[in-house]
């Protein structure tokens, strides 16, 4: 397994999963990379995330 994946999994506290299910951890890391790479993040620095912050509502 890629040592970077191992390091990231340990940093996330996944030592037990890494020991018992290394193939699941590796598949998950690759899937995360693929999903994030499929998104065209806006180039406009002012493009805000959804849902927007709305002060004073919702609670």
């Amino acid at each position: 397994m890629d040592p970077i994946i191992i390091a990231l999994a340990r940093a996330a506290g996944l030592d037990k999963a890494l020991a018992a299910f290394p193939e699941d951890v590796e598949a998950a890391a690759k899937q995360a990379l693929n999903n994030a790479g499929a998104i065209q993040v806006p180039t406009d620095p002012a493009a805000e995330p959804w849902p927007p912050m709305r002060a004073g509502s919702g609670l």
Binding site: I5, L8, A9, A12, G13, L14, D15, K16, A17, A20, F21, D24, V25, A27, A28, A29, Q31, A32, L33, N35, A36, G37, A38, I39, Q40, V41, P42, A47, E48, P49, W50, P51, G58, L59
Partner: protein
């Protein structure tokens, strides 16, 4: 005369009013059917027969005394097992939550009880509403009543299988990436993901806070509107709940589609994820039927399914990780493999990935809103394939993501899936209708017109 187990909720209400059927007679008949069929379908995790009979007796007494509560009074409903029913376990079909007894009813259950509906029990789901058809969980997976060798879709799998098989006329499901509409598609019933915020999620085990919806699953469009009428409404204690007065969702069911403008998103099933030929042919038939009924149908374009799916997955996995991190760290072996694999990616997503997905989400919402300024309803595929065999894990893994449902979890628009035909193999194929925010009524109106014109809802699975 229609057998009691195939009556719609609307027909049940009429039969009660005419004194040709009573709640006790109906629940007795359904319990007998469940006893016969559910061992083959596994729709139930927990059948609550005693409580259902007690509720039936109460409903019968009230109706007989001339105190009907409404159209769902004495009507049985099944509940996906991530929704709390007081005193029953909410297991999410997982070893992690076996023994997790709900202390209170979810808001949607409170509303059903106020309406006099009869809760039959808790239904199978994919583990935590994200796994898949799995054989490594504490309960077996639900099966498709059209062919028990095939999966019934999910994650609201027991809801879809049970409604389609006539175990109960109504069910609640939840939908974060298509989990009401997938089983509706696979089982040939009607499943609506309402507008985000229209139905309270309080008391429902979360998967992804900004994508989760509770939705009605039924055999007819009219029943879907009835169930939505009962469960919709503002809940100040649900942060995502919308302060809307939208109601009476069935008010337009008889209006037809004449002069409605419908945008057909062909590229979803033609280019983005080319559909099975029978699914594609059925979608063309849907367009022809709606045109023949008087609608204007034009081809339109939205962002690609690949991009919608990427946004959905990054948001879903990031939010789900924040819920499951402790258990995934301490008890990874207590998850089934599919759920473990689908939840773990959140550990590898960065804050930048999540915020980037939410920023792009604003843009794709704007793109869909732009099209809905010109069109009353969108028409597109739901599943790209009939459901696969349960023993073919590779085919299930290949076909499960081939769908066009996630876009409308990302955007929050109301989206309904229903049967659009039967494949040569005897399995349902489906269509999806999408509407403007809080205009769920027009989505149901189009679905009702299509249902009347085609009668697919009269087809019943060959299960007895």
């Amino acid at each position: 005369m229609t057998a009691p187990h195939w009556l719609s909720a609307a027909e049940i209400a009429q039969a009660y009013a005419a004194r040709t059927l009573s709640p006790v007679e109906l629940v007795t008949a359904l319990l007998a059917r469940i006893e016969t069929l559910d061992p083959k379908l596994n729709a139930f995790i927990r059948l609550d027969a005693d409580a259902a009979m007690q509720a039936a007796r109460q409903a019968e007494a009230e109706i007989t005394a001339g105190r009907p509560r409404g159209k769902l009074h004495g009507v049985p409903v099944g509940i996906k097992d991530i929704i709390d029913v007081a005193g029953l376990p909410t297991t999410a079909h997982s070893k992690i939550l076996v023994g997790n007894i709900a202390k209170a009813d979810a808001v949607v259950i409170q509303k059903l009880r106020q309406a006099g509906a009869i809760v039959m029990g808790k239904l199978s789901t994919h583990e935590f509403a994200i796994g898949g058809p799995s054989f490594d969980l504490p309960f077996p997976p639900a099966r498709n009543p059209w062919n028990r060798d095939h999966h019934p879709g999910g994650s609201s799998s027991g809801s879809g299988a049970g409604v389609a098989a006539g175990l109960f006329p109504l069910a609640l499901g939840t939908d974060t990436g298509g989990s009401v509409r997938n089983p509706a598609s696979a089982c040939g019933i009607v499943g609506l993901k309402p507008t985000y915020g229209l139905v309270s999620r309080r008391g429902v085990f979360p998967l992804s806070f900004t994508l989760d919806h509770v939705g009605p699953m039924t055999r007819t469009v009219a029943d879907n509107a009835l169930l939505l009428d009962t469960i919709a409404g503002h809940d100040p204690a649900d942060p995502g709940s919308a302060p809307t007065n939208a109601r009476h969702f069935g008010r337009q069911l008889d209006r037809g589609v004449r002069n409605l403008r419908i945008g057909f998103v062909r590229h979803f099933h033609e280019r983005d994820l080319p559909a099975h030929p029978e699914v594609a042919a059925a979608l063309e038939d849907v367009a022809r039927v709606l045109q023949a009924e008087g609608a204007q149908v034009d081809t339109i374009t939205l962002p690609t399914l690949t991009e919608f799916a990427g946004i959905n997955r990054v948001i879903l996995c990031s939010e789900a990780w924040s819920i499951h991190a402790k258990w995934l760290r301490e008890r990874p072996g207590d998850y089934g493999q599919l759920a473990r694999r689908r939840l773990l990616p959140g550990a590898f997503m960065t804050a930048g990935d999540y915020v980037g997905a939410q920023r792009r989400r604003s843009e794709v919402i704007a793109a869909v809103e732009d099209r809905l300024r010109d069109y009353d309803v969108l028409l597109c595929a739901s599943s790209m394939d009939p459901s696969s065999r349960m023993d073919d894990a590779d085919e299930t893994a290949r076909t499960y993501p081939r769908q066009a449902r996630t876009p409308f979890n990302v955007t929050g628009h109301p989206a309904l899936a229903m049967m659009s035909g039967l494949s040569r193999g005897g399995l349902p194929v489906s269509v999806q209708f999408v509407g403007r925010y809080f205009d769920d009524a027009t989505v149901l109106r189009v679905a009702a017109a299509y249902e009347r014109a085609t009668g697919w809802h009269k087809q019943k699975p060959p299960i007895g």
